[in-house]
């Protein structure tokens, strides 16, 4: 090596580069974080208000965006009872808290994150497995209350354990799942045919 190494190979030069690159990336991340959090606050276009559970929800291919997107339809109150935004929030919140405290995420994925032992729950509310909109709520509640006796293992032998959900917790979880299915997930999962698509082609 020569006696006078070029500047770009010096320790000091790279120290400065490291500091500036890190600081710059971090500042950009902070700016994007503010933007993202404002665009994903509850009640916006991407993450709907909790009272969206009073509405029919579907998930269809959107030609304009060239991907699947949630579609909010006519009135279809959960458990037949329209809720105010505050009541809906209480119910969804109970559901979310139950999902965490029962540790659902260490078997299932939510929005695609979690464990891979059981199906993704992102669009569970819309899954054709619930047969029809008319039977769905009852089926979901009975399943959640006693998954062992109402097992839906599709021949895999993987039975969900009974997590001892109370009636109210089970209703909360259903509300949470319905609310989550209305989140605009940029087209994930792709090609998902909802329960509505099965009955009305």
């Amino acid at each position: 090596m020569s006696a006078n190494p070029p500047r770009w190979s010096s320790e000091d030069f790279w120290k400065k580069v490291a500091i500036w690159v890190t600081a710059g990336s971090f500042v950009i991340l902070i700016v994007l974080t503010f933007d993202t959090l404002s665009k994903t606050s509850v009640g916006g276009q991407r993450v709907r208000s909790y009272s969206v559970i009073n509405q029919e929800i579907d998930y269809r291919f959107d030609d304009k965006q060239n991907r699947y997107a949630p579609v909010i339809g006519k009135d279809e109150p959960l458990f037949g009872k329209p809720l105010s935004e505050a009541e809906a929030e209480t119910l969804v919140d109970l559901g979310k808290k139950t999902v965490q405290t029962k540790n659902c995420m260490n078997c299932h994925t939510l929005l695609g994150n979690g464990a891979y032992y059981a199906p993704d729950l992102t669009k569970a509310w819309l899954d054709p497995g619930w047969i029809s909109a008319a039977s769905r709520e009852t089926l979901m509640l009975t399943f959640l209350k006693d998954p062992e006796r109402n097992a839906r293992t599709f021949g895999s032998g993987r039975v969900m354990p009974n997590l001892g959900l109370t009636d109210e917790e089970a209703r909360g979880v259903v509300a949470f799942l319905k609310w989550m299915s209305a989140i605009d997930t940029n087209g994930f999962p792709h090609n998902f045919k909802t329960l509505n698509a099965q009955v009305q082609p």
Partner: protein, 493 residues
């Protein structure tokens, strides 16, 4: 009875004091305690990994007693905690050497160790015995938070932060008392970021999109930014210590790696923001920057192999150097190659949340982080016995460390490949054809290729477990009765 319970902490401390060795400095005595717990947790990790792996093959196994979610939670939590124990230990290991002075608050460091270890024990017992709670805040505070990798209940979070503050005080305080160096500066700032990020994961939010947004700050900005830089610091010191590499070169490389790693990894965070409800500009930002993340990992391979080559692979600790080399390749393969394979949104749409992620997760965590900690376990074993010989011609030709190295790498690589095959199959059958419905999911799980892959994973899991057991045996016995001293290297300039 009361007497014996009251005497318990004293007894436990006594047991750990048996680990002290006259050959170690104060920080190193403490490091050995951390390493001992880390090894125990490593064993727990593979044990609970095996239990969850068995459940994929025989779903009725332990059903209702230790369900899959419990086993998996213990598996990944034991991993996160043992790796952190290993990192803390490694830093205490070289702190006095790097700063040229004694640890600022060794007494507090010891207290923090016992507090943390007691807290970890309680958390694990609650995971196993209570498992889950009602959907109330109290469960989040005292049982488990139900968020992957950072399930620890809130009380433990606060304890962890307190312990981290003591650790941070010791690191910064010791360098301040002694001398600063490039490594010291990077390390100190990195630890601030690492601990600060943990706080981003301590909140409950109903809005699951915002929840996962912050959750990834912890997970991604740990493993793809702050942990990478942390191991960069550890590597820098190791290369000087093991090979006698020159400080100026090592530190220049460290700065280059910091620039490349943070420059790609911080905004690379966007590869987790494709599908959680966040705006679609993250497609381009996440795709672009995360695609650059392999570059620093290549640089690290070049750097360490070059350094090792310059010194003709002559080192004072063969097992440690072998594990360091395993680290650079494992980091590059597991994080760089396996990460890159599914990081572009066009591909991730079909692979997100399949066994692809598990394949990558295993090779990356093992290759990048388990390996370097194991290297430090060997450094510790050597010095603990009085800086004994650990070069070539060990008794039995060093078969134990060589076989442990081979079995562990073979086992993890085998699991990784099995999971990759399962992941490919899932992408096609469940995602592309089945449209990700529950029926599609189970169609993929029931497919013969998937089932075979789960058997292979279990088999290679057994190989991995064998490797861990052999590793522990070797760590307990290597250098015993050795009378030759380790050679001294020319001092690092």
């Amino acid at each position: 009875m009361i007497y014996s319970v009251a005497a318990l902490p004293h007894r436990i401390a006594g047991a750990f004091d048996a680990l002290d060795s006259p050959h170690l400095n104060g920080g190193q005595q403490l490091a050995v305690k951390y390493f001992a717990v880390a090894v125990v947790l490593f064993l727990a990790q593979v044990l609970f990994g095996m239990l969850s792996g068995i459940q994929f093959v025989a779903p009725g196994f332990l059903h209702g007693i230790l369900d899959f979610n419990v086993n998996r939670m213990v598996h990944i939590n034991a991993m996160v905690v043992w790796l952190l124990y290993g990192f803390i230990g490694s830093i205490y290991w070289f702190l006095e050497d790097e700063s040229g002075t004694e640890i600022a608050g060794l007494k507090w460091g010891n207290v923090a160790f016992y507090v943390l270890t007691a807290a970890v024990t309680v958390v694990v017992l609650v995971y196993l015995l209570i498992q889950t709670g009602p959907g109330k805040d109290a469960s989040i505070w005292f049982i488990n938070e139900g968020r992957e990798y950072i399930e620890a209940p809130r009380w433990a979070d606060i304890g962890i932060v307190a312990v981290m503050l003591v650790f941070f005080y010791n690191v910064a305080g010791t360098f301040m008392k002694g001398r600063w160096s490039g490594i010291a500066g990077v390390l100190t700032l990195d630890l601030v970021a690492l601990a600060g990020l943990y706080v981003a994961g301590m909140f409950y939010l109903t809005n699951i999109t915002a929840d996962q947004y912050w959750w990834w700050w912890v997970i991604h900005l740990w493993v793809e930014a702050t942990w990478e830089v942390l191991v960069g610091c550890i590597m820098a010191w190791s290369l000087m210590h093991l090979l006698g590499a020159r400080r100026k070169i090592v530190q220049t490389w460290l700065y280059i790696e910091v620039a490349l790693m943070f420059g790609s990894g911080i905004l690379g965070l966007g590869h987790h923001y494709f599908w959680i409800g966040t705006p679609d500009y993250w497609f381009s930002i996440g795709g672009f920057f995360s695609a650059l993340e392999p570059i620093p990992l290549v640089a690290m391979v070049v750097h360490s192999v070059y350094d090792a080559g310059v010194h003709n692979f002559r080192s004072r600790n063969h097992p440690a150097l072998a594990w360091i080399i395993a680290h650079t390749f494992g980091n590059f393969l597991g994080a760089g190659v396996w990460g890159f394979m599914h990081t572009l949104p066009q591909i991730n749409l079909y692979t997100h949340g399949t066994q692809w992620s598990a394949s990558h997760g295993h090779l990356a965590f093992f290759g990048a982080y388990a390996t370097i900690n194991i290297a430090f376990f060997y450094l510790a074993a050597q010095k603990w016995r009085g800086d004994v010989w650990m070069g070539g011609d060990l008794p039995g030709n060093g078969w134990k460390w060589k076989w442990a190295l081979a079995l562990l790498n073979l086992g993890v690589m085998g699991m990784t490949v099995a999971l990759l095959i399962a992941g490919y199959e899932q992408s096609f059958v469940e995602r592309a054809v089945g449209g990700s419905t529950w029926e599609g999911y189970f169609a993929a799980q029931n497919q013969v290729w998937f089932k075979q892959a789960m058997h292979w994973r279990l088999l290679f899991g057994l190989v991995t477990t064998g490797g861990v057991v052999l590793l522990v045996w070797d760590l307990l016995t290597i250098g015993k009765g050795e009378s030759r001293k380790a050679p001294t290297l020319s001092e690092a300039a």
